[in-house]
């Protein structure tokens, strides 16, 4: 009996320790949760931005060197594909209490500085990041026109030098959903900064 209880406890421990992210084909969780966008001060949800061709969600932030290195490319892709029928939602899930550079005012400044034409939303309490199972910045998700997850991962294969990129994973995924096709590569990875989740009690 004791062994069984111990084993069960261990299994639970193992299950919760693993990052549980959205699986391919999943729909976006918390789709109607409204978040304040630093781009224009309006409240916005996934459902609000959902595009006819697909939807892209990118967890990013102000301070992470990886997010900053890719920022121009993320914003450019967002601005371009928003015009091609893809809904775009950039999300900052960092707890500003821990990460001061991610305060709303700093996000507003960043949105302006980078010429964002798409929402850059405050994820209160990191709720959206938790629901998606996102763990770092930047981390991108692309849903097809039916709302199913078809791409999850990084931006491209060279954050340091845009000129040396060989594989444009996110762009290829966006191009695929615009064309009504499945992306050739569904899952990619890169290093990134851990999302600064609020302390759990």
């Amino acid at each position: 009996m004791k062994t069984a209880v111990l084993l069960a406890t261990m299994l639970c421990g193992a299950a919760t320790a693993r990052a549980e992210g959205l699986v391919m084909g999943a729909t976006a969780p918390l789709a109607s949760t409204k978040m304040k966008s630093a781009t224009d001060g309006k409240m916005v949800s996934f459902a609000d931005v959902k595009g006819a061709k697909g939807t892209m969600v990118v967890f990013t932030c102000n301070g992470c060197p990886y997010a900053k290195a890719w920022e121009d490319r993320i914003v450019e892709l967002g601005n371009i594909y928003a015009k091609k029928g893809v809904g775009v939602l950039l999300v900052n899930s960092n707890n500003p209490g821990v990460s001061k550079g991610d305060a709303y005012e700093a996000m507003q400044a960043r949105a302006k500085e980078r010429g964002m034409q798409v929402p850059y939303a405050v994820d209160e309490g990191s709720a959206l990041a938790k629901a998606f199972g996102a763990s770092k910045t930047p981390e991108a998700y692309v849903f097809d026109k039916g709302g199913k997850l078809v791409y999850h991962g990084t931006i491209d294969d060279n954050h340091e030098e845009a000129g040396k990129v060989q594989k444009r994973y996110l762009k290829d995924a966006l191009e695929a959903v615009v064309g009504g096709k499945a992306p050739a590569t569904a899952e990619t990875k890169s290093m990134g900064c851990g999302i600064k989740f609020p302390k759990t009690s």
């Binding site: 060197p65 763990s135 770092k136 290093m191 990134g192 851990g194």
Partner: protein
Amino acid sequence: MLGIALAVTKPPLVTPANVTEVLAAIRKPGAQAVLLNVWATWCEPCKEEMPELIRFYKEHKDQGLRLVLVSSDDPKERHEVAKFLAAEGVDFPTFVKVGDDMRFIDTLEPNWSGALPASFLYDGEGKKRRFWPGKVTYEQLANETKQLLKRRKQP
């Protein structure tokens, strides 16, 4: 004479390494347990946990613990990496990651998203025993390495 007795921390050797070279450093014979930590100078939680990692290592290296530090900083920023490590009292060779991120991440641990910091514990045979995404504590390290380090043969 007194001047000679002053302990000077030598700047650590920060060598560029791809994932194969990192694995070779982990699997190099001679350790009872190997702790791998992937970090970066721009990663605040990484810097926060570093003193505890170093302290744990220094208190257990005589029992056969090896610490492999891999910075994910741009290899061009190597001097910054070395500066930080020297200030933390690191006096052994460390690495800065080169090569493809995805290959590095998936080779070390398919369940790792790539978020920093990340720590991994290997036994003396180079078999992975534990993966910690995020910060680790001295207590966690002590608990997990106890069995491995206890096995050390007495000379």
